[in-house]
């Protein structure tokens, strides 16, 4: 590992995924890059090490369901789905374009591997409860992973779903919270404080664990021993950095959603990532 890699704490795969995210974002000319960058290690560990799926049979009834409820983080999802062969990589070049496959929020029925259309926040958890209950009715062993943003859990519907998951003791269900501490307007602490966040999830009936959401080994360790507790849904609070890995974007609100940027700026960011890999 080179010096620069050590400094930002990311390995070659994490850097490569970030490069693809930035390239895709640049093709589309707009998007939520910083919201995707905080998700990279979470999505990577899920798709590399945890989820059971078959890109050749995306509707396989026994697949694990991974539902990106914070749909605006879709650049991270798309890059992983392309990497795994759910659709050809060249589709990434048409991100947000007319005639392209991939929009600014993921769409069910359009993109293989997308389990539900998300983008309006707070919808994923209840859909996930439905998925998890279906597994119980049909006696299937699949698991349901719902990935939430921290701003997203301002929505009351998230907590309605948490009540429901707790009531039904859905230990096949995992809420993953990308806790990057920043939402669109400003820091979570000032817009709508969430602390004590772990206590909230516990109070709603979940078994809770907090992890460094950029530590691949920590995520692998936690996500490979689910459920945390039998008879309870799991909540994994991932402490992350918005824009992780790109100096200009880290905790920089102007990159939450971006359009009209200078392509040279993105090229410079990509080039620095490549230097890290050298």
């Amino acid at each position: 590992m080179g010096g620069a890699e050590k400094k930002i704490g990311l390995d070659r795969r994490s850097l490569l995924l970030r490069k693809k995210i930035l390239e895709t974002f640049a093709c589309g000319g707009r998007g939520h890059p910083a919201s995707a960058l905080s998700l990279v290690e979470i999505m990577r560990v899920l798709y590399d090490d945890v989820l059971r799926y078959d890109p050749a049979d995306p509707h396989w009834p026994e697949r694990d369901r991974c539902l990106l409820s914070k749909g605006h983080g879709c650049l991270a999802l798309y890059v992983l789905l392309a990497d795994k062969g759910f659709f050809p990589e060249h589709e990434l070049e048409k991100f947000c374009m007319a005639g392209g496959l991939l929009g600014g929020h993921p769409e069910y029925g359009r993109v293989h591997g997308v389990e539900a259309s998300t983008g309006s926040l707070g919808h994923g958890p209840s859909i996930g409860v439905g998925f998890a209950l279906n597994a119980r009715i049909d006696r299937l062993n699949y698991r349901v992973f719902v990935i939430l943003g921290d701003g997203e859990i301002n929505e009351g519907s998230v907590w309605e779903a948490a009540l429901s998951a707790g009531k039904h003791a859905l230990d096949n269900m995992v809420f993953i919270i990308d806790y990057n501490k920043m939402q669109s307007f400003g820091p979570v602490d000032t817009v709508q404080p969430l602390e004590p966040l772990a206590d909230k999830w516990r109070a709603f009936g979940c078994a809770v664990i907090e992890v460094d959401g950029h530590s691949v080994t920590e995520l692998q360790r936690v996500l490979s021993r689910l459920p945390l507790q039998g008879g309870k849904p799991t909540a994994v609070i991932c402490h992350t950095v918005k824009g992780k890995g790109i100096r200009e974007m880290e905790d920089n609100l102007s990159w939450h959603h971006k359009s009209g940027f200078d392509e040279g700026e993105i090229a410079a960011m990509i080039s620095r990532l490549e230097d890290c890999r050298a």
Binding site: P61, Y108, G109, E115, A116, S117, S120, G122, H123, P125, S126, I127, G128, V129, G130, F131, A132, L133, N134, R136, I137, D138, G156, S157, E160, A161, L163, S164
Partner: protein, 306 residues
Amino acid sequence: MRKTCLDMVHKLAVQDPRIVFIGSDLGHGTLADFARQIPERFFMEGISEANVIGMASGLALCGKIVYVNTIASFLTRRCFEQIVLDLCLHKARVRLIGNGGGMVYAPLGPTHETVEDLAVMRALPNMTVVAPADADEMKRLMPQTVDYPGPIYIRLAKGYDPIVSADSPPFQIGRGMVVRSGTGALLITTGITLKIAMQAADLLERNNISCTILHLPTIKPLDHEAILRCAGQVGAIVTVEEHSIIGGLGGAVAEVIAEADFSSPKRFKRLGLPDIFPDDYGSQSGLLKRYGLTPEHVAATVRSLL
């Protein structure tokens, strides 16, 4: 009508393992036999409409056919975005059964009455909207809801309605039914207003005005062909609905008629609630009278147009 509808859900669920029921916080004992017989497919999820709709969507995306039941006002208003996105956008096979559509809950006031549900549901892509006239029509509708594509909104009216519907021609979602044929005027109904129109037609008959009654239990997809066929033969058309005159049956029919190319001009009137929230209590029949949804007023309206 409500009991018939829910009994049908139970009956269908016994026959079909794909069928799931979700209620919010319904009256004690609702579908107790279903809950006892098939507990794994019976859910009572509390006062959380957004969650109920999302959960129903999740189950439907896994191949289940989900019947959701609560009061129509809460079912269509509180969780509107979940209906739009989780159900319509996903073409999820979820059947929304709205209790007390219209002014059934007259004593409880505007929070519980639903006079815009048909308009709101009709505007959504992929949504089907049905308002049966009575329990018999409900019984004919329900088996057809099982394999019908996409979400369906089923408006329940007041129970114990007199049975006025007939199964001729056979009930079919999306098909209008000519209940009576005449040449003087066309009355178009949905839900419980079929009965009002039938009585109005009897009154008009005494004035030697014969009416066609076209009953449209399905508001969407609307039977354009039946509307145009019936409207072409008369000089006056009146729609009758227990709903705002904006965007419901009258609005839908107006859209069809306005774009039609009739050989002779037509007079047209929508009867329903004006653009207000119901502004009195009492009973459903009292409010129907207050807003002119009576046989006498329908007949007078027809006479004024001819």
